[in-house]
């Protein structure tokens, strides 16, 4: 980086990585993620918060914005919002509600009640599995809108429709909007952020966070700039409904902006709509100013000011979060916390099980590999007793079963929902070779592969493979590859 680099007040001090650039342009991504809270009722009224029911059966005067109806805040929604904030290391502060005024048929009051300049949670962060820290600006409470269905246009699109139908079941459902700082630099980081955030939301029980059902929705802010210069003008992409389309939409939008700038055009700040089928974004509207929403304090609600005792109780009740669980499992198994095995097993909630195998005298590192490979269909509480897997891993590290044999035995155990590894190994004829018969096979391999042996003795590492392969073949796969290598090295002297 050159010395005359412009100081960018937003760049989070992140050094530019050449590998992250697209044709010399650096991508800057910030995310606004809306999550529906797992409450029984709506944010300001007692109608049920339930997805997938018949239209317009969870409605009341507050939901419909009927004259004189008054909102009353749902205590549990506040608690879930605090869980999210504290899990993201935010400060929980006294907060207020505002009216955000705009006309749209899915919001009959003509305003949305949201938190504006005093949100409940501020200044947190989320650490990606690779350790990259992404700042969280705020995580505030607001109400969801109704759901519109556009009729009479091509394939249900808003463009060209003749009219729309509104279902208010979702109107008033509690949301927390989690706003990141513009700290991500690639589409992949954006994907990792959303995946990690989803894991945290599920862990704290704040939301079912199903992107396909809309209980977790992402708006992506994308801009591009040359490294060392100020950030570019950003566009906000809406309608991103899966982690996969998040990656695609971000990538598409970055390339669109790069092409515009390189063609001498200017990127306009606007809201764009991601079309999953076409794989592109369209202008939805040019960006409103905050002034256009004429925010003012909601006169029908009083300030929210959770007591320190309440905040502390929520903090203490938080479960161990995915990041900490990965660190714990990685340390116990001698594996990197962002390795595939650790990521997969923690995501399935099977890390406690792997650790239990260790406490029962099994080998945790082998248990981690086996659980990752063989327990994809099992939940957080596998049907196989940890004791059974502990025995299997003991036999494996004790040289009584090869890795291949252990896998075969485990497949039987998993299918039966449990079983004695010792008995299954015997039934399969998997009595591992004792050292003397293995040594005989190694000697035989040396004799039959004199050429490879002399190369191996001369220090050619590649020749090892041929010798080990010969022993595996003559033992019909019963030999332990590591033991064979050790014997060959010992004989080489």
């Amino acid at each position: 980086m050159s010395d005359n680099r412009l100081v960018n007040p937003l760049d989070n001090g992140r050094p530019t990585l050449v590998d992250n650039l697209i044709d010399g342009w650096e991508l800057v991504v910030g995310l606004e993620v809306h999550v529906e809270l797992a409450t029984a009722t709506k944010l300001f009224s007692a109608s049920a918060n339930r997805f997938g029911d018949e239209p317009n059966i969870h409605i009341d005067p507050v939901t419909l914005g009927l004259p004189g109806a008054l909102p009353v805040l749902n205590r549990h929604a506040v608690e879930l919002a605090m869980r999210i904030g504290l899990a993201l290391d935010c400060t929980v502060q006294p907060s207020t509600f505002h009216r955000k005024n705009y006309f749209y048929p899915d919001m009959p009051k003509a305003y949305q009640i949201s938190q504006y300049d005093q949100p409940i949670n501020i200044d947190g962060h989320l650490d990606l599995p690779n350790g990259q820290r992404i700042g969280i600006e705020r995580a505030h409470l607001e109400e969801d809108t109704g759901k519109s269905t556009h009729v009479g246009g091509p394939s249900g699109r808003i463009h060209g429709s003749s009219h729309s139908l509104i279902d208010f079941n979702r109107a008033g459902v509690p949301l927390v909007e989690i706003v990141s700082r513009p700290d991500m630099r690639t589409a992949e980081e954006a994907r990792q952020y959303v995946t990690e955030l989803r894991g945290i939301l599920l862990a704290v029980g704040a939301s079912d966070a199903k992107m396909e059902e809309g209980s977790m929705r992402c708006d992506v802010n994308v801009s591009v700039h040359k490294p060392g210069t100020m950030f570019g003008t950003r566009c906000e992409i809406k309608n991103v409904n899966s982690v996969r389309s998040l990656g695609r939409a971000t990538e598409y939008e970055a390339r669109r902006q790069i092409a515009m700038i390189e063609a001498g055009e200017t990127v306009r700040q606007e809201t764009r709509h991601w079309d999953e089928n076409d794989g592109r974004t369209y202008t939805l509207r040019t960006k409103e100013d905050a002034d256009d929403y004429r925010y003012f304090l909601e006169p029908d609600l009083v300030p929210l000011d959770p007591s320190p005792e309440w905040i502390q109780a929520v903090r203490e009740a938080l479960p161990m979060l995915p990041g900490a669980r990965r660190t714990r499992l990685g340390a116990a198994t001698g594996t990197a916390p962002d390795s595939e095995a650790v990521m997969v097993v923690v995501e399935r909630g099977q890390d406690d099980y792997v650790l239990a195998v260790g406490h029962l005298g099994g080998d945790v590192a082998r248990a981690l590999v086996h659980v990752k490979e063989a327990y994809a269909d099992q939940g957080a509480e596998p049907s196989v007793a940890a004791q059974d897997l502990a025995l299997l891993t003991r036999m494996e590290v004790g040289g009584k079963l090869t890795a291949t044999q252990a896998k075969a035995v485990l497949a039987d155990i998993v299918e039966a929902g449990g079983g004695d590894a010792q008995a299954i190994a015997v039934a399969k004829g998997f009595e591992a070779l004792d050292t003397s018969s293995l040594e005989a096979l190694v000697d035989q391999a040396i004799a039959e592969n004199a050429d490879a042996w002399s190369k191996f003795q001369a220090g050619e590492g590649k020749a090892l493979g041929a010798l080990v392969g010969a022993v595996m073949k003559s033992s019909q796969g019963k030999a332990d590859g590591k033991l064979v290598t050790a014997l060959l090295n010992a004989k080489k002297g």
């Binding site: 317009n56 003749s162 509104i166 929210l304």
Partner: protein, 90 residues
């Protein structure tokens, strides 16, 4: 004009003149308050000394769909029918 448009108010020229001067008067009043040194004054968000008014998260039956939709200007397929949305944009 813009305020009227944002609030979907249909004003005739006389009304626009009248409300514009009224709004200007209000803005002048706010400007007078802006001139005061209020650094030590805690903002009053509510006239009532209340905070933390909650309800418990318990479902109560609301309104009946058919009765509500019967009152709507138009309904279709158990939903409220509204004009095309893009035409409503500013």
């Amino acid at each position: 004009m813009k305020v009227a448009k944002l609030a979907r108010l249909d004003l005739d020229p006389d009304e626009i003149d009248r409300t514009t001067s009224q709004l200007a008067g209000m803005l002048e009043h706010f400007a007078d308050m802006d001139a005061l040194d209020l650094t030590d004054v805690v903002p009053m968000t509510q006239p009532y000394p209340l905070r933390n008014v909650f309800r418990e998260d318990v479902v109560v039956e609301g309104l009946l769909r058919d009765e509500v939709l019967a009152e709507a200007p138009a309904a279709e397929d158990h939903r409220f029918r509204v004009p095309p949305i893009l035409g409503l944009d500013l």
